[in-house]
């Protein structure tokens, strides 16, 4: 089994997000990048599939600050091949990047043919589309998103579970090769001891791949008028005081609403 995981780094929302003076981007000084959460899940799902079916996991990560950490951690978790992809513009919007990634996967030696490409179902800065269906469309492969489980990976098909509203799930069968947008892995991404990551830093090798010429510009066809913090249209009335005081106020409130 040949599994490819596409991972991206996105701004870490634990840090304060401030808008740059131009009003059209985030202030990069304050930014710290973190692997996109659902990409971490995509990696975990790939590793679980490798444990179940054997094969190789290739992690392709878009170049970003601290991306080496992401890749070495992936190696420590069990990824076999690490590729840092340069020359793909990241940031707001993913369409240009996803299409460039698809082309890079085709041109980089040995990435394809693959059975599955897994990536996160969506990321927090995907203003102009979703990575998984774009990859699929460019490669001409079938796609399904919001996947939370792979039930079976056979020679020519894969059976996956997708989440629907109200706690319902749907089991789909797809022909291989396919692209999966992973919402959550079957179990939370594993912890890897730092000692293993440090060992990976010495033993594992990160290949650097250069993306071919982009076929689209970032946010092509879209004018970004401005970025801003959302107006609290109808912000909550805030209650202050020590817990006991606030509890008392809330009780009054609930009683007034006939809830007590």
């Amino acid at each position: 089994m040949n599994l490819v995981v596409l991972m991206r780094m996105v701004p870490d929302v634990v840090e304060e997000l401030e808008i740059a003076p131009d009003g059209k981007s985030l202030d990069r000084d304050l930014l710290r990048m973190i692997p996109s959460e659902s990409d971490d899940h995509a990696l975990e799902e790939a590793l679980l599939l490798k444990e179940r079916y054997g094969g190789r996991v290739t992690v392709l990560a878009l170049s970003a600050p601290e991306v080496a950490d992401l890749l070495y951690t992936a190696a420590a978790k069990g990824a076999d091949r690490l590729i840092e992809l340069r020359g793909v513009q990241t940031g707001l919007g993913v369409r240009a990047a996803a299409l460039a990634c698809a082309d890079a996967m085709t041109s980089l030696a040995g990435v394809l043919p693959a059975d599955l490409i897994l990536t996160g179902a969506q990321a927090i800065e995907d203003l102009d589309g979703l990575a998984a269906p774009l990859l699929a469309d460019r490669l001409g492969w079938p796609y399904l998103g919001v996947v939370t489980k792979v039930n079976e990976l056979a020679d020519r098909t894969v059976t996956v579970v997708k989440e629907f509203p109200g706690g319902f799930r749907g089991e789909f069968q797809m022909t291989l090769p396919a692209v999966l947008g992973i919402q959550a892995a079957e179990r939370p991404p594993r912890y890897v001891p730092v000692a293993k990551v440090r060992a990976a830093m010495k033993a594992a090798k990160i290949e650097v791949g250069q993306a071919p010429e982009p076929i689209a510009a970032p946010l092509a066809g879209i004018d970004l008028v401005e970025l801003c913090k959302p107006e609290a249209a109808g912000r909550a009335e805030m209650l202050e005081g020590a817990p006991e005081e606030v509890a008392g106020k809330l009780c009054e409130l609930l009683a007034a609403h006939g809830l007590l």
């Binding site: 634990v14 840090e15 973190i34 179990r187 939370p188 912890y191 000692a195 990551v197 440090r198």
Partner: protein
């Protein structure tokens, strides 16, 4: 004094080279008396207490110990090491080595612990809060506090604040109290502010030595940027890390924990303690400060210096103190222990404190405040007893 031993050797001890060192060879002198297992607060659930670990080691069966997760219940309280008649460096040396392997072999890391470790690696604190917020408490300290990255002139005392006391609301109370005391003593002190990161001791005691090494490397590099004469730290575990582990990387600074440091200055503090605090106070001996380093009388001398305070002793005090359960990763394993049906050590300890009839449970290790306040709530004692750091009581007694 207590059982503080010589600092660890310059090069690293491992399970492979264990017997090349005196501390390692001492392990083989174990007489299998079982005092360690008997005194362990979780001895009844520990499938491999130190006695059995050593027996397995001698029998060449240590691998089996690595496959069990029982050692996650070790809260690194130094009780076994304090009682060992052979003075084997259990908590200091042997247990972390074995726990490192246990940790590597865990099929799954318990979720809360997983998050705490990931957060510590990424943000320098287990809470997962931005490093940029580490010194936010300074704004409400009420006294000026110099932050070295902003003002890097040489300073006498580098105050290493520690994670709980930087981010946790109750810990911030302690930091504010400490700052007021330092200021009242006319100390020339400064903090690292947002450049400070966890000292890593609990990660090390748990077996996450990679994380510890990463933090140690980072902290040593930060220390090297500034000029100071000594370090005073609020962290009891941080103190241990600096005294026993960091010398391995060239740490040569004089270091003290806040409580013994303030105790050295009790004569200068006493005239400032003008407000009477009519409390019956029972002091909980922290594992690191007490059993490990022998600082039993120092916190008591501080409490006795406060007018109105009446000291009561718990049944298990000084060397016999019962751990709050926060060390060695225990701070983030409460859910895990609960699922296994273990009693929370903090609840056990709080029951004992309440039995003294004291109004205040005084502590001096940053983990203890939240653990004991939590236990008081669970047991329904929160109206009977308050938890206060020794520094908070001292600051309260200083006229505003």
């Amino acid at each position: 004094m207590g059982i503080s031993g010589a600092a660890a050797p310059a090069c690293e001890l491992t399970l492979e080279n264990l017997f090349e060192f005196p501390q390692g060879r001492r392990v083989l002198s174990c007489i299998q008396c079982g005092l360690c297992a008997g005194t362990c607060p979780y001895g009844d659930v520990m499938d491999y207490p130190p006695r059995r670990i050593i027996a397995m080691l001698r029998a060449g069966l240590l691998e089996k110990v690595f496959q069990s997760d029982g050692l996650l219940a070790c809260v690194a309280c130094y009780a076994c090491m304090a009682k060992c008649p052979r003075d084997i460096r259990l908590t200091e040396v042997l247990l972390p080595l074995v726990k490192e392997q246990v940790f590597l072999n865990l099929p799954e890391t318990p979720a809360e612990l997983h998050r705490a470790l990931e957060n510590t690696l990424r943000y320098g604190n287990p809470f997962g809060e931005s490093a940029r917020k580490r010194a936010a408490w300074v704004k409400t300290a009420g006294v000026p506090i110099r932050i070295l990255p902003e003002d890097p002139r040489p300073v006498d005392v580098l105050w290493f604040v520690e994670c709980q006391n930087s981010y946790h609301p109750r810990g911030q109370d302690v930091s504010r109290a400490t700052a007021r005391l330092f200021h009242a003593l006319g100390m020339d002190f400064a903090i690292l502010g947002n450049e400070e990161k966890c000292a890593g001791e609990c990660a090390r005691l748990l077996g996450e030595t990679g994380l510890f090494d990463t933090l140690m490397d980072y902290n040593m590099a930060v220390f090297a940027k500034y000029r100071f004469n000594r370090i005073v730290t609020s962290g009891a575990h941080a103190y241990d890390a600096f005294v026993y582990q960091y010398p391995e990387r060239g740490f040569r600074y004089i270091v003290e924990q806040t409580t013994p440091f303030l105790a050295r200055h009790v004569d200068r503090l006493r005239p400032l303690l003008t407000r009477k605090l009519p409390y019956a106070v029972t002091y909980h001996d922290s594992c690191c400060l007490g059993r490990h380093n022998g600082f039993y009388e120092e916190p008591r001398s501080l409490l006795r210096a406060i007018p109105g305070v009446r000291l009561l002793e718990m049944t298990h005090n000084r060397i016999n103190s019962i751990c709050c359960g926060g060390g060695g990763g225990g701070m983030w394993l409460d859910t895990y222990y609960k699922a296994k049906g273990y009693e929370r050590l903090s609840e056990r300890r709080v029951k004992e404190a309440a039995a003294t009839g004291a109004d205040v449970l005084a502590i001096s290790c940053p983990y203890e405040i939240s653990r004991f306040e939590d236990a008081l709530k669970v047991l329904g004692y929160e109206r009977r007893m308050l938890v206060r750091d020794v520094t908070e009581l001292l600051a309260e007694s200083m006229e505003a």
